[in-house]
Symmetry: C2
Subunit: 313 residues, 2 copies
Amino acid sequence: MNKVVALAGGVGGAKLVFGLSKILTPDKFTAIINTGDDFKHLGLKICPDIDSFCYSRAGISDQKHGWGQKNESWNCLTELKKLGSETWFQLGDKDLALQLERARLLSSGLKLTKVTRSLCKKLGIEANVIPMTDDNVSTIIHTEEYGEISFQEYFVKYKFIPRLINYRFDGISNARMTPESKKAIEEADLVVICPSNPWLSINPILEIENTKELIQQKTVVAVSPIVGNIAIKGPAAKIFLEMGIQPSAFEVARLYQSIIKGFVLDNKNKNETDTISSWGIIPFVTDTMMNDDRSKIRLATEIYSFAKKTLRT
Amino acid sequence: MNKVVALAGGVGGAKLVFGLSKILTPDKFTAIINTGDDFKHLGLKICPDIDSFCYSRAGISDQKHGWGQKNESWNCLTELKKLGSETWFQLGDKDLALQLERARLLSSGLKLTKVTRSLCKKLGIEANVIPMTDDNVSTIIHTEEYGEISFQEYFVKYKFIPRLINYRFDGISNARMTPESKKAIEEADLVVICPSNPWLSINPILEIENTKELIQQKTVVAVSPIVGNIAIKGPAAKIFLEMGIQPSAFEVARLYQSIIKGFVLDNKNKNETDTISSWGIIPFVTDTMMNDDRSKIRLATEIYSFAKKTLRT
């Protein structure tokens, strides 16, 4: 298990990426982050999933809100409100500075992968975090109430209350893997699918070109974002229900059945291991809650050990 | 003299536009503003000349600096500095909010004229202020020290210290007049060329399509930006010298000779009236300094009266 790649979205995913990036050096670990949640806001390209990880890894994240930076001020947002602008996506003054610097680097012609590397460096982050693609892919949620809306509108503006009828990844068929993501996957001995939304966070990554096929050749372990029958954060459990599926860890494992060799599920789901084993997947039961840096590192260590000992081919 | 159009740049020009907009109702007055100074900064389109007028007209301009908003804070800029971003163009948090709202409106597909109207409305400004074009035109300064640089780099970053060898308006041959600017000029009884830089602020406006020809059919009065032999603000006098011309009011009049019928010059230049008259231009000598709102309105009133009484055809 020399080299590890993680696939992740922004919430639980970013937490496990944090843990893995703390126990594995940058030459041994690459996180490929979903960018389907990226969107254009006030003329700027916002990458919430990348930022979520970066702020947390740089030790500047607002732990209370779970988004944005700590010790934040809101002067620009206050003025935007006065101007009657769009303010449902709350950008603090510091957060905004990062978005502007990203915009500056992008408009200088750099690709998102290089821009992300540069921003990480500026934030003092040594971990290898790359976007799933340098192309624009937008997760569009078809809702009952508002028709088709962007992921951030669904997630932030409407707090994932609308009923999801369907979803699609706009631009996915033209999006290309980056040389960096291709190389990382090809060289990987282990791929960890983080506890992110399988449909909306992991699916877009797998659907870029032949990412899924490349990953199928690897030893893959997935971590359930469903604990008990709920999602710790985000709409995963709700979407399961809207798709007519009772949310559970084994239903997540079922979605990844053709890819994974191992599956990590929470103590609360330990009675689901037989079902998972019956599909030829090796289950690993542990405490998957990541409430602080310590537990993120602990879970990352456990998953790495499990994969090393049990999944070795 | 029913309808008046003013052509202006950002510094002295914006001051006279302020005065004119205070004595003439929006149905009788339109200001056409140079947008060659606009530039892309941190991924945002910044329109310094339009903003300069708007902030002053809305009563929120920073009188001390002569740019930006009063009671400004700098939290985002401070963070941009930490990130090692470009911070020579100082955007305060409030100023930034306006730039972001402009970006939002532009990315929604609105043209700059409509965006400007919307921003004016949001700022409570009733005056008719329109950009010279909805297309991108960039004033490029060819300097001895730095080669070709944008106007804002020349003006703000390098404080117009570099020697100007030449200048050009990138994109001008493809730029079109807007229906709004065409209509305003066609309906105008009087065109006032404000005390802006003749080369860098007024020239771009005149060079959009057949603006100059349209204006030549009108009664035109220009106001000298040179007082004595200096420019109150900006590089006009310095550029005169770099072009081998001794800066004076009559040299400004000479530049506009084919267009203007009247010329307003400062008391300090009163001995230049004979030269100006000898070209068939009617001079009007007064105090052209505009240090406060009162003097802006006074000068506007004097120019309007002069034109009404003396230049009537």
